[in-house]
Every structure is written in C-alpha cells, then in structure tokens.
Symmetry: C2
Subunit: 355 residues, 2 copies
C-alpha cells in the first residue's frame, strides 16, 4: 500500500465561511468550531479514503454502538501560526501513535498514520485563517474515532468513523487553579483503560470533579485506586511538583496518560539544568513539604492547559496554599515550550513540524 497523497483527499468546501461571526479576541476553550472537518469511515473491514467536508451534523442510527458501549477515543493537539503565516504542529506523530495505542485497548481499528497526517495537513491548509495568533490562543485540534456500527450485543462494532475537527481556542482555565486531592473516587483501575484517551475515562471524572468544584476547587488530583496514597494525574493534565529545586512527576503506568507535554517538559527541564525525578509521589510527602516550606510549585501539564500553575491544594478538609514565588520553573518552562511551538525560537529537539 502506497502512501496516501493529497490528491486522494476529496474536498467539499462550505459555500460561505462563518469565520466573520467569530470574535477571535474573546475565545473560550473548544466552544466554536471551524468551517471544515476531516472524516474517514471504517467500513467493510477497512478505512476508506479520508475527505474534507463542512463541519455539520452527522447522522447515526440510535443503535450505533457509540451510544451504548462507549467505544470512543480521541486526541488533543494544537496548531500555531507565526508572523510569516506558516503553520506549525507540535510532535504530531506522538498523537497519532497514542491514538492507535488507545485504539488497540478499546478494540477500535487503528488509523493509518498517513491518513491522519496527510488528512490533518490538508485540513489545516484549508482552515489556515482559523488559527488564532493572539498570545495564549491557538487552534485546538480534536481527532477522534467512534463506533458507528449497530447492535445491542456488548461486543466491538463493525464500523467506525474518524474525524478531525478544529476549534480556535483561548486558555483552558480562567483564573487561579486550586486542586483537591481525591481519596474516595478514582479515575482508573490497574489493568484498566486509564492510559488510553478513551471517552469513558472523562465522563467518570465529571461527578467527583463537580463535588470538588462545589467546595471551591477547579480540578481533582487523582490518587491510585488501591491505596489512595500516591498522586497520579489531574483531569486532563499530568502533574509536576517542585520540592526545593527538584522537579518531580509520577511515572506513567496503565492508569496514567503518557502526556506529550509531560515528556517534553522533562526533556526541556533537563536541557535547562533543572533537576528532575520521575518517581511515585506520596500524598503525605506533598503535605509534609507544604508544611515545612519545601514545596515551591505544583503545575499541571497538557496540550489544552499548556502549563497551568496550581495555587494550592486541598486534602482531607485542610487547604494548603502555595507560596507566590518569582522565577518559577512553571513559567520558565512554559515560555520555552510556547516559544518552540509558535516558532519564536530554535527547536533543538526537532519537535516542531511545519505543515
């Protein structure tokens, strides 16, 4: 099978763009969507050719398995545009590969890498004007696959749909982020699907997160479901902790997503001469460090949230506020990574891909 070429992607453009109705200076996260999407159907045991079509409703039988058995996976990426109007992606192949890791675990057919990459590039060329350039804004890209095949038997579907949609977006969090360390509810099981970007992982977090919000926190930090003694990750971010001058993060596992931002930060920090440690982090260690003042920073890391400083955490009805310090690792690393992503600096790592 040869590589997919751009010419094989059928394109059906909208008659009139809705771009003029969008206020690019006041973008929320993932609330408005661009004119077009890439779609690709898995039918008769194979992925058909991808095509670009208007972002519009899709039609599904009520018996489609997506409605019943949660067979859905997704990715989150961003596109950036520099002052030359060139488009850039950040480590996009890592997202393709992770989508296919998720696919395997959820018994969903893997998407050919060239269908994903060629399709995405073709889409971005058409949606170029939708990429915001305001600082802190970007075009959030959502590739996802779900079961369209029908049936009430609890077994994998026969047909699937892969879509890439785009949402010009502002920042994920508004304001300070305080987190609650959760001891009752869990995000994932040993031997479960926590390492996959499976839709069901997110729905399961909403109720506990709502309870945390009611108490004044914006996010939950999950702990392992067996002992609840170790911190794992946040709703849509990996978590970093700075104790004195060491930057810590938990090892990934079958319960924790292997975040692209997380691993980039680990490499960037090393290059910056920041001492890093990847090891399990006890909740008690965090509490102790907060008490004795050695806990300097906590931040979340993810494509959507970039690097989001955490201002404090709650644990067992006690609140621990973090000190306001200067020259944080979080700020420094965020500036570095954003500069690479937006083509404002060299990229010694080879992470930035020009579209």
């Amino acid at each position: 099978m040869g590589q997919l070429t751009r010419e094989q992607i059928k394109i059906n453009k909208v008659k009139t763009s809705k771009i003029d109705s969008i206020d690019f200076n006041n973008l929320a996260f993932g609330q408005v969507f661009s004119d077009h999407m890439l779609t690709c159907d898995y039918i008769d045991g194979k992925w058909q050719l991808p095509q670009i079509e208007p972002f519009a409703p899709i039609s599904l039988m009520p018996s489609a398995k997506i409605f019943h058995y949660g067979q859905s996976i997704f990715e989150g990426m961003k596109a950036y545009k520099d002052s030359n109007n060139d488009i850039f992606l950040f480590r996009p192949l890592d997202n393709v590969k992770r989508l296919n890791i998720s696919a395997k675990r959820l018994a969903i057919p893997e998407i050919p890498e060239d269908y994903f990459m060629e399709g995405l590039k073709a889409l971005l060329n058409i949606e170029k004007d939708w990429i915001p350039t305001k600082e802190g804004s970007s075009l959030y890209i959502r590739p996802f696959t779900f079961a369209t095949g029908e049936g009430f038997h609890a077994s994998p579907a026969d047909n699937y749909k892969f879509i890439i949609a785009c949402a010009p977006s502002g920042s994920y969090f508004a304001g300070k982020v305080k987190v609650l360390i959760e001891e009752k509810y869990s995000r994932s099981a040993n031997g479960g699907v926590g390492f996959a970007k499976a839709g069901g992982n997110y729905a399961g977090q909403f109720y506990p997160t709502q309870l945390a919000k009611d108490k004044g926190y914006q996010q939950v930090i999950w702990t392992d479901d067996t002992t609840h003694e170790y911190i794992e990750e946040a709703g849509a971010m990996n978590v970093f902790v700075r104790i004195n001058d060491t930057l810590l993060t938990s090892p990934v596992s079958d319960r924790i997503l292997d975040g692209v931002t997380r691993k980039s930060i680990l490499e960037l920090a090393k290059a910056e001469g920041i001492k890093t440690e990847v090891r399990k982090i006890k909740v008690s260690e965090l509490v102790e460090a907060a008490k004795n003042g050695s806990l300097k920073e906590i931040f979340g890391a993810g494509t959507a949230a970039v690097i989001s400083p955490i201002s404090g955490f709650g644990f067992r009805d006690q609140d621990f506020d973090l000190p306001e310090i200067k020259d944080t690792f979080g700020e420094k690393l965020k500036n570095k990574i954003v500069a690479i992503q937006t083509n404002k600096t060299e990229d010694p790592f080879g992470w930035r891909i020009k579209v």
Copy 2:
C-alpha cells in the same frame, strides 16, 4: 408537577411497518430493531415531554460530548407476551432507579420515573406485535441517555437525549459458555464507575474479551483490580457458583453492577430452599473446589443472558471443566424466573408488571 399522562406523549407513527421483513424464528440478539422509539430531550435545564417516533437516524454535531467524553448510560430490560396477548415487564422500576443511579455518577440528569414508565408502556402498546412469543425469545428493551451538548472542554454537557429502543431478540449466547478468569486486565476501579451501566465500562472489556475469545473462551470473569484474588462478575452478567449444595455470589460493590437478575435469583433460591451465601469468592477457592469435585455449577445471570450455564473456566493456562450434572440449580431457577416473567406461573414476589 403532576404525573405525566399518556395523552401528553406525542406520537408519530411509521407509514409502513417493517415487521414482515423480520424472521421471528431466527432472531439473533439485539440485531433488528422495532418500528418506533421513545425519545426525550433534556434542553434548557429540563426534560421536555417524551414522544414516540419512527426508529430512524438521529442527527448530532461532531462536537456533541457523547463522541468525546463517554457521557452515556443505559439499561437492559425485556418485555414478554403471554397467550392472551398481554404484555409484561419484570421489575421495571428497578431499571428506572438504576438508570438514575448511573446518571448521578456520570453527571447526567436523572430521568423522571413517570416519563420513563409511561413512555415505555405507551411504546410497548404500539410495538406489541414486535414481542416474540417463541420460547427463549423476547423483546429486548434498551433505554439509554447520552450527551448531545457540544464542546471540547472536558466537563458535563448541557443537553442530553433519552431514548428507549426495542429489539426482538433470541438468546444472548449460542452454545456452551467457557469463561476465562482474568488476572491482568480489569473492568473497574475502587471508587470508579463499575457499579453504573456506563457505556465506557463495556468498551474497556472488549479487547481483553477478544484475547480470551482467541483462546477459546466466550467471556471473561473479572477479578478485583487490586489483588486479582477475588472473582467479581462477567462482561454483562453477575456470576453464581455452586459448591456442594450452596449457591454463592459476590456481594455488589462500587465495582460490581447490582443486577436485577442476581437479586431475583437470590430471593428465588431462598424460596426454593436452596442455601445461598453472598460473600467474596476467592479464585483459589474456585480452583480448589474444581479439583476436589465440590464445584458443581457456575452460571451467569443477567437480563440479556437470563441464566447461562458455564461449562468450564480457564485460569493461568489451565482449564477446569465442570461436571455434567442433572437437576442443576441453574436450570431450576431459570425455569422459575422465566415462568414468572412470561406469566406462566404465580408471582408471589410481585415482580411481574402488566403493561
């Protein structure tokens, strides 16, 4: 708010029924669907009036949260018809209540009980001819709710759709059922959503179940994700084990679904003078009992599978076949429960509801 009345349910019937195209003598499970469905939309913070309409495609934005965050829950019920053409349901209120337990955990708005029950009854009256009467067949009923509200922010949707669809169905399993006791993969976490009928719980089982199928088993028996020492339940069934003359089943928990069939069997068995025990069951106990001959039966229990005898189990590359015995508890209890469901016997428990 008064109770919903039948007259408030708007009905839009199909022009021509497709019933004549269905071979009621050769029904698979959940593969063909009746002419109509009940639908009900949650918009502007409240459930709108339910309506009955043709079973036909539904239209959704690609940004609807069902595609991204797995916000979906469901139930499984059956309708039966007796020789007088009367329609019966089995403990339907338990399904309504469980759907709302699932709803709460998945941050989905709860459906008013009268919308569900009145809507279902109205639907069944219209779909009466779709209820099979052949032994072992029934009308499988699938109530489900999913997120229609849009957005790429990982948070609960604002809008939802509740649907009840019907599928005239034959038996869930074809042939003997051999199960594999799973030690690596898990179905659910402590503090997770295993007790809910959440779509994502099922997708997560497909891949490990496929691996088991490749080895010649039809289903997986899940163990707890912490120690893998205790058996919990099967893919879509609770599990019963008979050791000598005692019938055992695991207690329900936040990882295990509180099955309607399971609790009915426990009551029926007691009424039949069968000794029952609800307690944790060690895998090692099962293996030991298989070896010393005290393990007489294993069966799965669920609405779809009714009572499905299990002919043997695999554990760590060893296979344990169960003896073929007469007068099994499984057979006896199955006959009792089916007779109650189909109005062939008295129902001292008050489980059977005439529609």
